[in-house]
Subunit: 442 residues, 2 copies
């Protein structure tokens, strides 16, 4: 059988990795796939640089600067989109689909925003759009959710799915440093981009979470409904206090079935989260990723590995290429549906507003250490129906002020917000209450 | 499309779980698979008990006591083998294949011993034999190895793949108890069978490891070449000493590419193993399973979850049923090969004898605390070319005898064996040297 022909859009970090790994392991990959996988065409902005990368790996293929030449080429069976961004990739992917080509992409932003349109077009045309590389790099979490857990009613997915922020949080905890300082180091080491906004503000994690939410629950991708909160406001003090109470703080993406007054809803949220320190996922350090899935039959399963980088991401791109190569010509009905559920079997369960989610909370209140302040705080929480799991009161800061930290049991977020408003109105309370959500993940 | 028809051989723990989960989640499973999956026939030794289990779940199907009626029935498309043991399942599975039926099995013993014969027959006949449930219960590790990591040259697989022994080791460490005592508790709690030999002597783990080794490296299943060593001889003292040195002891199944004097070989071994306590896999406690895979492109990935039990195992059985349902009628060439590599692309890299493996060692020597004994020990190791990473000398046991614990750097096992022989010949050494292998898994 002749090799399947692949066109690469973009040959940056992941594109070069894909080229390298395909060349290096071509023998093993062919032994598995039963057919060669050959990059026949590459679109790159910098033709010279592309030629250097390709040449250095002993490859030979057509290099063009217009990506539309690739998606229109009769010499390409599968288009691999590795450009990044939203609009140009959307256009290119839709054109490739219209041309009857299969697509492999690592672009989470594209799928989180335009996934519904793209998957509908692919379904219509009977081609595959594969995206293992879009979530958690080389960790085969999309395959696990879409194929490995098909027996289950999935209850929740919670993941450390952004390596940059996990690296920063690990360093802040290890070294007791502040966010800004660690970010600088991370940028110097290449763990954070020069403009790190998408990573540190939780947007990248929310893109990935949106995709996992859709395939876990059989709902459309709905990035616009996600709650997105990053780590840039996190203080070293809170990491230390959390540690003293037996918790680690991680930037978690959480999506979960919930029930508000008898109506089903889905939580979809990214934010810093306290996790009990003894949980496996609390011990995922540095730039590593991990995804914890709760499902009714299998219970808890966890998937761990490198969530970014040239070859880890290429590993997922190529796994998709092998899958697509195998199923390129079968009846589309025999393939795994793009979003795990048959397209006519999606549901429209609503994403819940944050006020309606139920979780536990870490509250830090900075107070004038005067008589009765603890009584005021606990009465306000009791009035709001919130029970307290743990309290930590630190010594004064030398100016008769002190931090009081409280961990609550589970409650609805609107109750906590109302209580915080009352707490902040107390004359003994200085400034804003710091509120961080807490998940026991038990 | 009409539901696909499934015949169940055996309705014990896993069979009942499969029935329950298929009934409970039938709606979600159909939404994913695009087609119903229906158990039409069950073979059971105890017809009344089977009828009770099936009835309790609102099911209705034919119950027979002769399993050959199921594999011969025209009313069955897929045979699910959940009987256990070797010979009868072998006969049944081969008959099912000969009848052109697809097979799903949770039987690791069967595949570790007769896998080559069974997969060859299935290949010949163009049917699938799926076995996700045979390794690590509901954790989709077979799918990860066969499909998720196809881009990679896999270097090693190391797993905690027997829940019974991991539960026992966790309890021994937590409570400082001896093996025999904990085994009794485990049996009372149902974590260990009345005849626990297969679990505690490492046979079950070796079955599973043999299967993973084949799909990781593209070699035939070769259970007879596996080194199998259980935990029944493990002493609480060694768990404690390991802890003091920063290690945990786990029963690991390890399979790894190796090189002996320029010739490629594969390590295939199950034995108690020291692991640095900070590794994620060292913190897998109780009856949980975890598999760590090292591969050239993706790096380390880890897969964690329940390795046994009714519904976790059923989760894997049903995931296989969905896969088989999707691909039941496609050209066999479009399916994932049984052992990950195309049948004509398997290699015959030899399994290494234990004398040739390279790893680190924990050595405990019980000595008369006399002048010069440490000098003797270190000289013997130095003579054998073995360098020492750490030493722990405990106070005397009250009779002028003491334990000396040494952790070595990596060396070939035959060197260590030769050194141990010389150490045991020293007049100052009492009894046998305790030797436990150590993997840094870095």
């Amino acid at each position: 059988m002749k090799p399947i022909k692949v066109g690469l859009l973009g040959i940056g970090t992941v594109g070069a990795g894909t080229f390298n790994v395909l060349q290096r392991n071509q023998e093993d990959i062919r032994r598995r796939a039963g057919r060669g996988i050959e990059i026949t065409m590459v679109a790159a902005r910098n033709l010279e640089r592309a030629a250097r990368i390709i040449g250095a790996n002993g490859g030979a293929c057509q290099i063009v600067d217009d990506p539309f030449l690739v998606v229109d080429s009769p010499d390409v069976d599968i288009v691999v989109e590795l450009i990044g961004g939203y609009e140009l990739p959307r256009e290119l992917v839709l054109k490739a689909i219209a041309n009857g080509k299969h697509v492999v992409t690592a672009n989470k932003a594209l799928l989180a925003l335009h996934g519904n349109e793209i998957f509908a077009a692919a379904q219509e045309k009977g081609v595959m759009v594969a995206f293992e590389a879009a979530v958690a790099g080389g960790v085969p979490i999309i395959k696990a959710l879409r194929e490995g857990l098909t027996a289950n009613r999935i209850e929740s997915v919670a993941g450390i799915i952004n390596g940059t922020t996990n690296f920063i949080l690990s360093e802040m905890r290890d070294k007791g440093l502040d966010f800004a300082e660690v970010l600088k180091t991370a940028q110097e080491l290449g763990y954070a981009e020069l403009d790190p906004t998408f990573d540190i503000e939780g947007v990248d994690a929310a893109h990935k979470l949106t995709i996992m939410s859709a395939i876990a629950f059989g709902i459309p991708v709905q990035f616009d409904k996600a709650h997105v909160e990053g780590i840039s406001a996190l203080q070293a003090d809170d990491i230390r206090y959390a540690e003293q109470l037996g918790y680690r703080i991680k930037l978690l993406g959480i999506t979960r079935r919930a029930n508000v007054d008898g109506v089903e809803g889905i939580e979809l949220r990214v934010h810093p989260t306290l996790i009990p320190a003894q949980r496996l996922i609390a011990n995922v350090e540095g730039a590593m990723n991990a995804v914890l899935v709760e499902a009714d039959a299998v219970g808890s399963t966890l998937y761990y590995g490198k969530g970014a980088g040239s070859e880890p991401t290429a590993s997922a791109v190529i796994a998709d290429l092998v899958d697509v190569t195998r199923l390129a010509t079968v009846d589309p009905y025999c393939r795994v549906p793009h979003l795990a559920f048959q397209p006519n079997q999606m549901t429209d369960v609503a994403i819940l507003p944050m006020a309606d989610i139920v979780t536990s909370y870490y509250l830090r209140v900075y107070v004038n250490d005067q008589l009765g302040v603890m009584a005021d705080l606990t009465r306000i929480l009791a009035d709001a129906g919130i029970s307290i799991d743990a309290v930590l009161q630190k010594g004064t800061h030398g100016d008769a002020r002190t931090d009081i930290i409280m961990i609550t049991h589970q409650t609805r977020e609107k109750n906590v917000n109302a209580a915080i408003e009352r707490i902040e109105a107390l004359s003994s309370v200085v400034g804003k209450v710091i509120r961080i959500r807490l998940e026991t993940l038990s």
